[in-house]
């Protein structure tokens, strides 16, 4: 493999219904940042697959894409790992990106290893940071052991250097009025039969405000204690125009619904302006998903709780003696 043939940064723009996934837009922003850091003639390419992909082109430019490559095909109307895997592999083979970023959505998490295996290249999963070494090598920082350990991953002799990144890790950018260029791409997908058949697509209505749109998130863990207590956090979240987020134990107890509100390694990463949390011990599983919040206030009965290491304000108390008073003040 002649790695010097590989140039530019490619971002997979995942279509979610009538929009591009937030996670993908964030990665285009990240690609722009990496491009700027390189300071050479690197371009940000985005690949969008589906049926009717043209409607996303302007949006992709405005989020930073220099070139939008679209693969418009009826066969790609619905995601399938085999078809999308083939399409994205062939696209990467043609465009030979040096770096290839894919959002770590459920779809991206399935697609990225599929494409990496076909390209026989390296893939770093759930990166928490992407950067360049002073000698120019690309470094992908990945968490292990639920975020307790971070490690640098390098892909020295293979290209593209692939990475997945969760939503909320990178910051999206906006370039008002930016225009790029667009190209269409296609490859033969006729070799795929009906080994995989999609029979239904269920979309549940989201409950409450999505975490990534919330400036203030109220987090709760095992220390919340009950479903009734959780309702207090919900009330608090409503008053601050935010949302509640949870840890795995709180989710397992059934106090809150929806995996999409779980913050941490196996959930989402968030960066609200304010993160107020109660009854969370602060296992690495959780802290690696909230460490980028603007300001963190933690309330825990245990003065030695790990969560305090990731907090701006530490309150050692029973949260039930505090939060209802805050709610009362805010109601006035």
């Amino acid at each position: 493999m002649n790695i010097s043939e590989y140039k530019n940064i490619l971002v997979y723009a995942e279509v979610k219904g009538d929009r591009i996934a937030e996670n993908s837009l964030e990665l285009i922003g990240e690609a722009c940042r990496l491009k700027e850091h390189k300071g050479d003639d690197t371009k940000v390419y985005t690949a969008v697959l589906g049926n009717g992909t043209d409607r996303f082109i302007e949006q992709l430019y405005e989020h930073g894409a220099d070139v939008v490559v679209s693969f418009n095909d009826e066969k790609l109307a619905q995601y399938r790992s085999d078809l999308y895997g083939e399409a994205l592999t062939k696209l990467a083979e043609k465009y030979k990106p040096e770096i290839f970023l894919i959002g770590c959505t459920y779809q991206g998490a399935e697609l990225a290893p599929t494409v990496a295996a076909r390209l026989k290249t390296g893939l770093a999963a759930h990166c928490t940071e992407l950067k360049f070494h002073s000698d120019g090598r690309f470094i992908q920082v990945v968490p292990a052991f639920g975020g307790k350990v971070l490690g640098d991953i390098l892909t020295p002799a293979h290209r593209p250097q692939m990475a997945t990144v969760k939503a909320g890790i990178c910051v999206k950018q906006r370039f008002e009025g930016k225009k790029g260029s667009s190209e269409s791409f296609s490859c033969d997908l006729s070799g795929f039969g009906d080994q995989i058949k999609v029979v239904s697509v269920v979309k549940e209505k989201a409950k409450g405000k999505p975490l990534h749109e919330s400036e203030c998130i109220i987090g709760g863990g095992f220390g919340v204690g009950s479903k009734e207590n959780w309702a207090i956090l919900e009330e608090f979240a409503t008053i601050v125009n935010g949302a509640t987020g949870c840890t795995r134990p709180a989710l397992d107890e059934g106090w809150t619904t929806g995996e999409q509100t779980m913050i941490g390694t196996s959930g989402v990463a968030v960066r609200p302006k304010m993160y107020i949390n109660v009854g969370i011990s602060g296992a690495a599983h959780h802290t690696c998903g909230m460490k980028d919040a603007g300001f963190v206030i933690s309330i825990n009965k245990d003065a030695n709780a790990e969560i305090f290491k990731y907090s701006d304000i530490k309150i050692v108390a029973d949260w039930k003696t505090i939060i209802p008073l805050v709610i009362e003040r805010l109601r006035k």
Partner: protein, 266 residues
């Protein structure tokens, strides 16, 4: 139709004790600090999925692990849960493998001892959590694969699956042979009883080395891994927790003040 099922499991340090893991500042390696090795959580769900299919449709469940020989105990546990046979892929040549090399090695063992109707893995492991090996086994075997499985049912020789998405789920019909990765929603793993553990010792457990497998030497171990590990470190937090004391009223007042300072719409 009886089902011949392969399940891949990974022995990992028990995630309940991850907080004990430390990093040696000199050698830049992580120290397990005596944390016991267990079968990674989701892999137990994978095994349970295989065992319930076998219990209903008959057939055989074979377990695969790529790990040092010291993890035999974990395979005995899998046999104790009810698996029929186990293969431990253990060779110095496999050490340091990334997901592409790991999946290549597992796929080679599956190819060698198969054919199988279905390969089941956990969606991701507790330790590395890359979630890449399942799909990549599918790719090496050139089989269709689906991850994020939250329910499965086998009917009319087709696997009916539901796979989770951010805002709901996708229902699939999957023709076999195929590879799937399951989440914890898919079932509740059975417990091992004493009888199971006793039987486990009588079941075949074979160690396979690189020379026993149809592996491509360019795709195994550290040297066959496109990704190479660099520095490792503990996450650092730049925050200095200010210890806020006072009456509940005073603390509540301060929280409101901080919300205002942060510019939160109230």
């Amino acid at each position: 139709m009886a089902l011949n099922i392969a399940v891949c499991v990974k022995p990992v340090p028990d995630s309940k004790h991850f907080d004990k893991i430390t990093i040696d500042p000199v050698t830049k390696t992580w120290n397990r600090c005596g944390i016991p090795m267990v079968i990674s959580d989701l892999d137990k769900h994978a095994l349970e999925a295989a065992l319930s299919l076998r219990d209903k449709f008959l057939g055989k469940v074979t377990v695969f692990t790529m790990a040092p020989e010291t993890t035999k105990e974990n395979l005995l546990e899998a046999l104790g849960m009810g698996a029929d046979e186990a293969f431990l892929l253990s060779d110095r040549a496999f050490a340091g493998a990334d997901t592409l090399a790991t999946s290549h090695t597992l796929a080679a063992a599956i190819k060698k001892t198969g054919p199988y109707d279905l390969v089941i893995t956990g969606n991701e492991s507790d330790d590395g959590s890359t979630g890449q090996v399942s799909a990549q086994i599918g790719e090496w075997l050139k089989l269709p694969h689906i991850m994020n499985v939250i329910s499965l049912e086998y009917k009319d020789e087709v696997l009916h699956l539901n796979s989770i998405t951010e805002d709901g789920s996708i229902g699939y019909e999957l023709k076999l042979p195929a590879v799937i990765g399951v989440t914890r929603k898919v079932n509740k793993p059975r417990f091992i009883n004493v009888m199971g553990m006793m039987k486990a010792k009588t079941k075949p457990l074979t160690i396979l080395k690189a020379e026993d497998l149809p592996v491509d030497k360019d795709h195994i171990g550290l040297s066959g891994s496109p990704t190479q590990p660099g520095d490792i470190y503990s996450p650092q937090s730049g925050r200095k927790a200010e210890y806020l004391e006072g009456t509940p009223e005073e603390i509540a007042q301060r929280i409101v003040l901080e919300l205002r300072k942060a510019g939160i719409t109230l």
